[in-house]
Symmetry: C2
DNA sequence: ACAATAGTGTCTATTAGACATTATGTG
DNA sequence: CACATAATGTCTAATAGACACTATTGT
């Protein structure tokens, strides 16, 4: 095509373009991320972020490539996915100068164990190949920061959840306890949640909690707060 | 090299990788961005964002490429620069499937007119080629949002500035008036500014304002606020 | 009935905005 | 000295946190 003609003379010809996904979930008050064992060189056998080459023939854009990776390698259909940042340079991949467009994906705690891959607590990760350590650090910073003023953590919950459960999610992400009265006020302010009529969840010998869900039409995207959620 | 061998069989061989920079400044309470007239096809002659191919031989990463573009095409040495996002797909560039890593750069209002390029008010832009319109929209959203809780707007001011001047910058970015008492409290809270002893600036028949500068060691990076700046 | 957590009402503390007052330059 | 804007003090309003109290389940 046209591309190679112009590109080659500008030294843009041989350059690797990949996507990497930091897939996060939250189980038992622990943030976990999914690692896959690499099948090929470089770093064959090492545990790394799910990722792969962009396929210009089939992908409409890099996000598409990230979704394809999640679908084909993990069977995940439509998780929450947002672009994180791009990482580039001559040394991050031993195959040569590369650009990786990194994404963050959030899923509710999987019921069964995934066929492939391994969930690892984010604060007990092995050494990661490439610059995946840096990508993960950037992702955690983003997710923790965005938890302060948005409904992002909702995407770590299933369809239905109680407010105490959701508060625990926020607390885990922010690393600090939240005042429950204030938390309820904030969730109300978000305007994203509605109680499921009649549905409650009990998890012990005490009053059961009201179940909530995202309001219709607010499943995607994020609700935003005018002010941050304060700890305390 | 190694790259092309592995890359080609994964259909990652012919893919265009560029950087684009949304270079912003603020003059007379107007946010302006720099457009360059394209010298080559595609869209030769059109006004577009400064940008260019990534040069794997010389660039250490995409940020480096963006700095090179600013330096070579505009003579800008070390403006504030942050990665915005990547834009990709088969149709955004007629040469073929492409990834552009976009950056936002902020500079104080240039004293002389730049030799090349044209400053345009961001709310009166021409139709832009490629997906530059979308990139600009994303950049403006980012800059406006970050102005609410960080010292980002400082990078649109020169070395020395008064608090009323800085407040005007914030107000232009946020599009709303700010309470001056509250603004001073916030700037104090940022901890990034210090008064320049004895230096004042008068711009009329009235009390002159104290000049401030960034504290030593805080020229780079951003100060962050615990809460947003409210309008009013 | 009791234990335990859900959920609410309300008081106090903190933070933000309004407004008055003082400060300090120019014409 | 009048005027205009800078800068600050202080009162009021809005928002957040603490804490007590009521609600509702399982055992």
């Amino acid at each position: 095509m046209l591309a190679s003609v112009n590109a080659s003379k500008n030294s843009a010809a041989s350059l690797i373009c990949t996507v990497d996904v930091v897939l996060l979930t939250l189980r038992e008050r622990q943030l976990e991320l999914l690692l896959l064992q690499r099948e090929r060189e470089p770093f064959a056998g090492a545990w790394a972020l799910p990722g792969g080459y962009v396929h210009p023939q089939e992908d409409q854009d890099c996000e598409d490539a990230a979704r394809r990776v999640l679908q084909h390698k993990l069977g995940l259909a439509s998780p929450y996915l947002e672009q994180l940042a791009s990482f580039s340079g001559p040394a991050r991949d031993p195959r040569g100068w590369s650009v990786s467009v990194a994404y963050v994906a959030l899923v509710p705690p999987p019921s069964g164990p995934l066929p492939l891959g391994q969930w690892r607590a984010v604060d007990r990760l092995p050494q990661l190949p490439f610059d995946h350590g840096r990508i993960v650090a950037t992702a955690l910073e983003r997710v923790r920061n965005k938890s302060q003023y948005s409904s992002l953590p909702l995407h770590l919950c299933g369809e239905a959840f109680t407010l105490p459960e959701l508060q625990a999610v926020y607390e885990t992400l922010m690393g600090e306890p939240i005042n429950p009265v204030s938390f309820r006020r904030k969730m109300d302010e978000l305007g994203t949640l509605e109680p499921i009529p009649g549905a409650k969840r009990a998890d012990g010998p005490h009053r059961p909690a009201q179940l909530f869900r995202r309001k219709a039409g607010r499943e995607q995207g994020l609700g935003l707060l005018g002010r941050v959620i304060n700890s305390g």
